[in-house]
């Protein structure tokens, strides 16, 4: 946290550069939308309106929004579980989110996959599969192919959690990105728990950032609760990658402020962590910074909050009236080559 400088009247103000105002405010609004939407999804879940699991990004908004804002058209993004703020900043419509969770047939996955497993590959937003680490090499592939087609100036980014860094897929893919010198920005969101497993049971090196040395890639460490820091560090990592300096590993430290999923009450989280600086809510901190820096007023923030709530209410109301997938209208074919589909007659 930058030092608080008391002004003449004795009030503290945040002494952040004014060039930060615009991105900070934009990021805050994405964070606010993401948090409001997450809260809505949680209550829909408890009302029994969502099938399957609900996984939220509470606590991750600053990091994710910074990633989404740093990306440009032409970049490729494979978000993971808690990146809603990043997805929204990258351009994913709120309707896509609500439709996928609520099982509307009109969602991007058409009911074939759900909750956070959503995306639009043709628009460079890759839908994740459950196997953690698996998306990294897919992003590598997109970058690899673009380079083969002589494109330049693009980056690819994906998120992985502290738990995901234990997988073989993570290792293989990061190594591959390094060897191929791809413009990959790997966002490691170390939120201190993989479901119920604390990081002490996940790795024993000093910090996940130290792994970068082993792969020969650059690393950046970051306080994930601090939006300004997120914007700066993520922005720098993305620029470095875009300028051809090879893979960049960003390791952000924060605390997951929700259960692993909404079925989980996270009672295993050490309460001392919640009281400590890493347990602070990045959204509240960012709101306070806006006020302290004089970049927004209470009423303005309230109206943003209202706008977000209304946008989400309208989406939910619309989606609730939409049809669910019809198994009898499905062609139940997994191959795109029609003539090669095996026919299994119904007995």
């Amino acid at each position: 946290m930058p030092p608080m400088v008391p002004n003449v009247a004795g009030q503290t103000t945040d002494s952040r550069p004014s060039s930060l105002r615009d991105p900070f405010t934009k990021a805050f609004r994405w964070m606010l939308l993401a948090r409001t939407l997450d809260d809505k999804l949680a209550s829909l879940y408890r009302a029994g309106k969502i099938h399957g699991g609900v996984f939220l990004g509470r606590g991750h908004e600053a990091l994710a929004a910074a990633v989404g804002l740093a990306l440009r058209p032409g970049d490729v993004y494979a978000p993971l579980i808690r990146d809603l703020a990043g997805r929204l900043a990258f351009g994913e419509p709120v309707l896509d989110v609500v439709r996928t969770f609520m099982g509307s047939a009109l969602g991007p996955m058409r009911g074939r996959d759900g909750n956070v497993h959503r995306g639009r590959p043709r628009e460079s937003l890759l839908p994740m599969i459950s196997h953690l680490g698996a998306m990294i090499s897919v992003v590598n592939g997109v970058l690899f192919a673009r380079r083969m087609r002589n494109l330049s100036g693009f980056v690819g980014t994906t998120t992985i959690g502290d738990g995901g860094t234990s997988t073989g897929a993570f290792h293989e893919a990061l190594n591959q990105a390094a060897v191929e010198k791809l413009p990959l920005v790997l966002i490691v969101a170390n939120n201190l728990y993989a479901y119920s497993t604390p990081t002490a049971r996940q790795f024993v090196c000093r910090d996940l950032a130290d792994k970068a040395i082993g792969y020969g890639v650059a690393s950046h460490e970051l306080d994930g609760t601090d939006l300004a820091a997120c914007l700066e560090v993520v922005g720098r990592a993305v620029s470095r990658a875009r300028d051809g300096h090879g893979p960049q590993m960003v390791v952000a430290r924060l605390l997951r402020l929700c259960g692993h999923g909404e079925h989980d009450d996270a009672s295993y989280v050490d309460p001392r962590l919640r009281q400590s600086p890493v347990g602070q809510d990045c959204l509240k901190l960012a709101e306070q910074s806006l006020l302290d820096c004089g970049w927004a007023e209470v009423r303005q923030i309230e109206s943003w909050r209202e706008e977000a709530a209304q946008e989400i209410e309208a989406a939910v109301a619309q989606v609730q009236r939409e049809p669910t997938p019809d198994p009898f209208a499905e062609d139940w074919r997994a191959l795109s080559s029609r003539h090669l589909a095996d026919v299994y007659p119904e007995p």
């Binding site: 879940y45 408890r46 029994g48 969502i50 099938h51 009450d265 996270a266 939910v316």
Partner: protein, 399 residues
């Protein structure tokens, strides 16, 4: 006022139920949408069930420390139509359903039925072999079905397969070889009789026989006008014998004996290409003289091939007079649904020993044979029935 149900939510992928830990509000309290109402515990975590919409708690329908499944109705919130609509509830649907609308979840009862696993197979599985003379492969069965053949039709084929079974090649050679012979179509009567005999023959059939003196019968007949044939005399005698004891005409189906309900007896009438079997109902109730008109009527109908369906079938035994062909002895086959058939041979002059005179005297004699399903009747019972018939035929005035 719409009543919105509070539903136990899906609390985790593999969670099926949760236990009520505490009520955070009371009946009658005003609550906001998404407000925490009930604290529940699963084996993974403790969490809160929230209000589906703004309104007043109308009731709780669950007990503390009891478990309820996902989707169960835990209580109801009474709301204004506007608040209900804002929360996405269709009030028209709500009004129709007893517990209130089940939004998203399905309306399940509070206590799940515990189903026990029912085994689907009892007893030992039957091993499938291809060996064994009687094995017919699926292909063979399909071809036989196509040609309308039965196992009985294959009796003429020596199989070359394992255990002497008939292979499809054996079968096709057989069919091809038949093609070389002159063929003509079998009538439907022929096919029907063939099928009846095939089915009847699946039982063990035995025959007992008795030569009977018909002098009394012929004397009675000479003195009668109109005259009945020997077959009707035999039928009437059989009817009276069965009226005294109908047991021999019962049937064995599995472990049960099915008793005859009415002494309906049929008799064989030869037609062009087979046999008709008209039936005289309740032949024990009328005398020989009274049976004769109906008997003659039935024969005439057979000759005209106009025997109505009600006049055939449903008999418990039949009489066949093979003597009309000049045959001394025959072993008729009972109809497939019957236990016995009484056959009458040709009458001829034969010597009979007269004890009183101490010498052979000429009498009119005919063999009566009784074929029967030996699963049900034994020789003794069959013999007693024949003896009784003989005794009745010796006193034709009682018929």
């Amino acid at each position: 006022m719409p009543s919105i149900p509070i539903i136990m939510p899906q609390l985790g992928e593999s969670i099926a139920e949760a236990t009520i830990i505490s009520f955070l509000v009371q009946v009658g309290d005003e609550v906001a949408v998404d407000q925490d109402l009930i604290e529940v515990e699963t084996n993974k975590a403790t969490m809160n069930v929230t209000s589906p919409c703004r309104g007043k708690i109308a009731r709780f329908s669950v007990e503390l420390n009891e478990s309820y499944p996902v989707g169960a109705v835990l209580g109801n919130v009474e709301a204004t139509p506007e608040d209900a609509a804002r929360a996405g509830f269709d009030t028209a649907v709500l009004a129709r359903q007893p517990g209130g609308a089940s939004s998203g979840a399905n309306g399940q009862s509070a206590t799940p039925e515990r189903k026990t696993v029912q085994p689907t197979i009892r007893g030992l599985p039957v091993p499938a072999h291809a060996a064994g003379a009687s094995f017919m492969s699926p292909r063979l069965k399909a071809r036989m079905a196509e040609l309308g053949l039965h196992a009985a039709d294959l009796a003429g084929i020596a199989g070359s397969g394992a255990g002497g079974r008939v292979t499809i090649q054996d079968f096709e050679h057989f069919i091809a070889s038949i093609e070389k012979h002159k063929q003509s179509p079998a009538s439907s009567m022929r096919i029907a009789v063939a099928d009846a005999m095939r089915r009847s023959w699946t039982r063990p059939i035995a025959t007992v026989g008795l030569p009977m003196c018909l002098d009394a019968l012929f004397a009675h007949r000479r003195a009668s006008n109109p005259k009945a044939g020997p077959a009707l005399y035999a039928l009437r005698a059989l009817a009276m014998a069965l009226a005294e004891n109908s047991a021999p005409a019962g049937r064995l189906i599995g472990k049960k004996i099915v008793h005859p309900s009415s002494i309906d007896l049929g008799f064989a009438v030869e037609a062009e290409d087979g046999v008709f079997v008209p039936v005289i109902r309740q032949a024990d109730q009328k005398s020989l003289k009274d049976l004769l008109p109906r008997y003659n009527e039935l024969i005439e109908l057979c000759h005209q091939r106009k025997l109505p369906v009600e006049a055939a079938g449903g008999s418990i035994g039949i009489v066949t007079n093979y003597g009309t062909f000049g045959l001394m002895w025959a072993t008729p086959i009972p109809l497939p649904e019957q236990t016995l058939v009484l056959g009458v041979g040709a009458a001829r002059k034969a010597p009979a020993w007269d004890e009183a005179k101490g010498q052979f005297v000429p009498v009119m004699e005919a063999n009566f044979t009784l074929s029967f399903d030996h699963r049900f009747l034994d020789g003794g019972a069959a013999g007693r029935l024949l003896t009784r018939i003989a005794a009745l035929l010796n006193r034709p005035e009682v018929l």
